[in-house]
Every structure is written in structure tokens, then in C-alpha cells.
């Protein structure tokens, strides 16, 4: 702490406390901003130094104008929409597969025995390894990319639902049964809410997987639209500015989902119900 602020502290202790707490929030922000500025400046210097052609390492201005051009003609929105739609459809299909199967696996030992081996075999295979085969089977386009998303997201979801249902505090189930809850009521009032936190965690993980799979799928299976396709096309024409602009968009969307969508979802559900630690207290 500086001498000046110590003097202030001697005169006005209360005011100083608020100053200090404000500083605690402002200082990291300033440092982060400086680091980003330094990084961008270094890039700008490197790009303009002419070590590499500006076609390969475009300066910020070029990247920004590429982004603005894509916003102006609306193409970036079409690409983003196509990618997001594939993720959404893929995730919905994955949910429709994983939630019932995971519930069955968690509740019934027979289903667990049937489904465990295929899960163990298929789960470690990277979804993108399937792309060339899926393209042969279904051709280039939406079916192939959505299938890859489904493959990428189903298993982590299934695993989480299964584990979530399996680790439900058995006292809760027995208590409900002792109070004569019939099966539907047991399901809607105990098992479903108790498994919901792990389902939400599963969705979050599945989104991360799906996000990688959709970009990779679009790069390899090149459908008409999509952020991956945008990057792939830009490579053909040496448009490094378009590629970097697309990467920025991909980063912003990823951050938005990670920080805003899922955090709000968790706050509104898991945290509000006090289930952040699985209800085991």
C-alpha cells in the first residue's frame, strides 16, 4: 500500500476500507486489460514487421475489417446459426438417448450389465475418428455433422446420468418407499430431482465435447455453412484474416456458453436447491 493511502487510512478508516475493496476489484481488471493490450500490440508489431507476409499474419485492422465485412453481409450469422443448430439438434438427440438409458442403467442392474460393455468400448473412441466413415455412409452435410455431435455428446451425458442416478442417497429412496410412494411418484419426486444436478453437469460437459466435434466435423466433412467450414474455406484462399476472425467468434461463443449460459443455469437450479455437492452433507 502506498504512503498516500496510509495517510488517508489514518484520517478516514471507513472510506479507506471501501477504497481498498474497490481496488481489489479494479487492479486485476487493469492488469488483465494491460496484458491483453500488450499481447495485441505484440501481434500488431509482429504482423507489420514483415517477417511473414501480411496475408499469413494479418494486422488487427485487417482482422477487424474482415469481421465487420462478414457481419455486414450477414454471412457470419449464417455460419454461426448453422453451427449452433447442429450443436442444438445433436444435443437434443443425445439427451433423448442418454437420459432414459442412463436412468435405466442407474436403477436396474440388468440394464447396467447390458449397456456397460458397449459404453466402455465406444466412449474412448474420439468422435472425429468417425468422420471419414460417417461421410462415406451419409455423405457430406448436416446428417454427418449432427451424427458426429451426437456421438461426441451422448457418452459423457450417459455416464453422468448413470452415475447421478446410481449415487442417489439410498436413504431418500427408502424414505419415499416407506411413505408408500408408488413408482411414478418416486421417479418424479425423488430420482429425477436428485439426478438433475449431474444431468446438468453432463449437459455442460457434453456441450464442450459437442463444440469441438462440430467444428472438427465441419472442417472435415465440409457442409455448406458453418464456422468450421468458414475456416476451412479461408485456408484454401489464404485468408488468414477471415480465419482469425472466425476463431474470435468461436472463442466468444464458447466463453458465452461457459460463463453466462451454464453458470446462470447452475445458479438457477443446482445452487439454488443447495445441491452443489450432490446433496451429501
Amino acid at each position: 500500500m502506498t504512503v498516500a493511502s496510509q495517510q488517508v487510512a489514518a484520517i478516514e478508516p471507513k472510506a479507506n476500507a471501501t477504497v481498498r475493496s474497490r481496488r481489489r476489484r479494479v487492479v486485476p481488471f487493469v492488469r488483465g486489460a494491460i496484458a491483453i493490450a500488450v499481447l495485441l500490440a505484440a501481434w500488431e508489431y509482429f504482423a507489420r514487421s514483415g517477417i511473414f507476409s501480411q496475408a499469413i499474419t494479418p494486422p488487427l485492422e485487417t482482422i477487424a475489417s474482415a469481421l465487420i465485412a462478414m457481419v455486414a453481409d450477414g454471412s457470419i450469422f449464417k455460419h454461426t446459426l448453422a453451427t449452433m443448430l447442429r450443436v442444438a439438434i445433436g444435443l437434443v438427440i443425445a439427451l433423448a438417448i442418454a437420459i432414459p438409458l442412463g436412468m435405466l442403467m442407474g436403477r436396474h442392474a440388468t440394464w447396467e450389465r447390458i449397456l456397460r460393455p458397449p459404453l466402455a468400448v465406444l466412449m474412448p473412441i474420439p468422435s472425429l475418428a468417425w468422420v471419414p466413415l460417417v461421410v462415406l455412409w451419409f455423405g457430406i452435410g448436416n446428417v454427418a455433422t449432427v451424427l458426429i455431435v451426437v456421438y461426441a455428446s451422448t457418452f459423457s451425458l450417459l455416464y453422468n446420468v448413470w452415475m447421478g442416478v446410481k449415487t442417489i442417497n439410498s436413504i431418500w429412496v427408502r424414505a419415499a418407499q416407506a411413505m408408500n410412494a408408488e413408482r411414478t411418484r418416486l421417479f418424479t419426486h425423488v430420482i429425477w430431482p436428485a439426478a438433475l444436478p449431474s444431468i446438468i453437469t453432463g449437459i455442460r460437459l457434453a456441450f464442450g465435447r459437442a463444440w469441438i466435434a462440430v467444428i472438427g466435423g465441419e472442417l472435415l466433412a465440409s457442409p455448406q455453412w458453418g464456422l468450421g467450414k468458414l475456416i476451412f474455406d479461408a485456408k484454401e484462399y489464404l485468408n488468414a484474416d477471415v480465419m482469425l476472425a472466425a476463431l474470435v467468434v468461436i472463442g466468444v461463443i464458447g466463453l458465452f456458453f461457459e460463463r453466462v449460459v451454464f453458470q446462470l443455469l447452475e445458479r438457477a437450479t443446482v445452487n439454488r436447491w443447495g445441491m452443489a455437492n450432490g446433496g451429501q452433507r
Binding site: I212, L219, K235, L244
Partner: protein
Amino acid sequence: MAIAWQAAVWSGTFPAKLFPSLATVADTFVRLTLNGTMLVAAAATLFRLLFGFLLAAVAGIVIGLLMGRVQWIEDALLPIVSFMYPIPGIAYAPLFVLWFGLGDVPAILLVAAATSFTVIINTWKGVKSVKAVWIRSAQAMGASERAIFAKVVLPGALPYVLTGLRLGLASAWRILVAVEMLMSVTRGLGWLIFGSQQFLNTDVMLATIAVIGIVGMLLERQVFVRLERATVVRWGMMSS
């Protein structure tokens, strides 16, 4: 599931060329293993994985430790790391091709770049999770800054670091397969799948996919479970 697959093959709804029987896939697997194609491909892929992952591990742990221990480094790097972290590594692939050309170097660099963020985030969280009481009691007992780092912070952060390495290796493996398809390397499992697509060799593709799955599982089960048992589990910081 195997029966369902076989039934679908025998029903003849799909051409056998596109939908080979399990026997054909097994045959192909044996043939490719015996003539060495599969081994050469797997060795090339594992070599890239090893180098990329080592780079990522070293860079990730160093940056993660610095972020965990030094306040201004954390303030400076956290926004950048959290922005880069959710970008799928594979999205950089065409850019890396543009910058570094085709072949091994960009593939290794890309795997390293994509993996390092997972390691950074987990190492940083690990250092942050070290209880302040442990550090203060070490200080009270007169431990030097270095001793605290080596004897308290490092072991305390290790469970998280290992988790980061484990997740990092898994994601490196996933990405590498796709990277090999995009970077037209001369050997490798991803290249084997991609090359077979041109000749409709679905049996080769499925055999390679199986190998990829098996290697991935071995990496996960064998390497890390052993490492964890030898360290954090033995020290009683985690139950196996």
C-alpha cells in the same frame, strides 16, 4: 450389439463395401498388424502425442504454477487463458498449416497448444486449492519460501495437476486423430482412416478406429491410474 451389427450386414440392406462384416474387420486388423502398417501408424501417432503432450505439460504446469503463486501473473493471464480455453484446438488446425506448413511440426505444436490450456487451468486451480493453513503452519515453523513451494504447494496441488494432465492427454489424443486428417502427415492412425476413405476401405477404417479406441483406453487406464496410485493415493490425498 455385435449381433445387431452382424445382422445388419447379413440382411444386405447396405453394400458390403460400405458396411463390412466383423470378420472382415478382424481379418483386416490382423493383416495390417502383421504387415506392420498398423504398428508404424500407431508409432507415428504416439510419437506426435508424446512430444505434443510433453510440451503442453511442461508449459502448462509452469504457467499454472506461476498463475497460482504470483498475483499479477494471475491477473494478467487469466482473461487470456479463459478466452482461449473454450476454443476447440482443432479450429486452429488450418491456421497452423498456413503458418508452419504440413507435417509433424505443426501437428505437434497444435496438440501442445490445444492441450496446454487444460493443464494450465487445472494446475492453477490446484495451487489455489492449497489450504492457507498449511502454508501458514509451514511459515510458522520457519520454512523458507522455496521449501514451502517444494514441500507444501507442489504436493498439495498435485491431485489437480494430475487431473489436468489426464484430461489433457485424453483431449490431445482426440484432437491428434483429427489433426492427422487435416495436416496430411505421411503416417499415423488418423491418416490411415482418412486415406482409406478415398479407396472405400471401410474395413481398414473400422479396424483403425478400434485401435484408436484401445490405445486411448490404455493411456487412460494404465498410465494415469498407476501414476495416481504411486503418488496422491499413496499419500492419502485421494481415494482410488
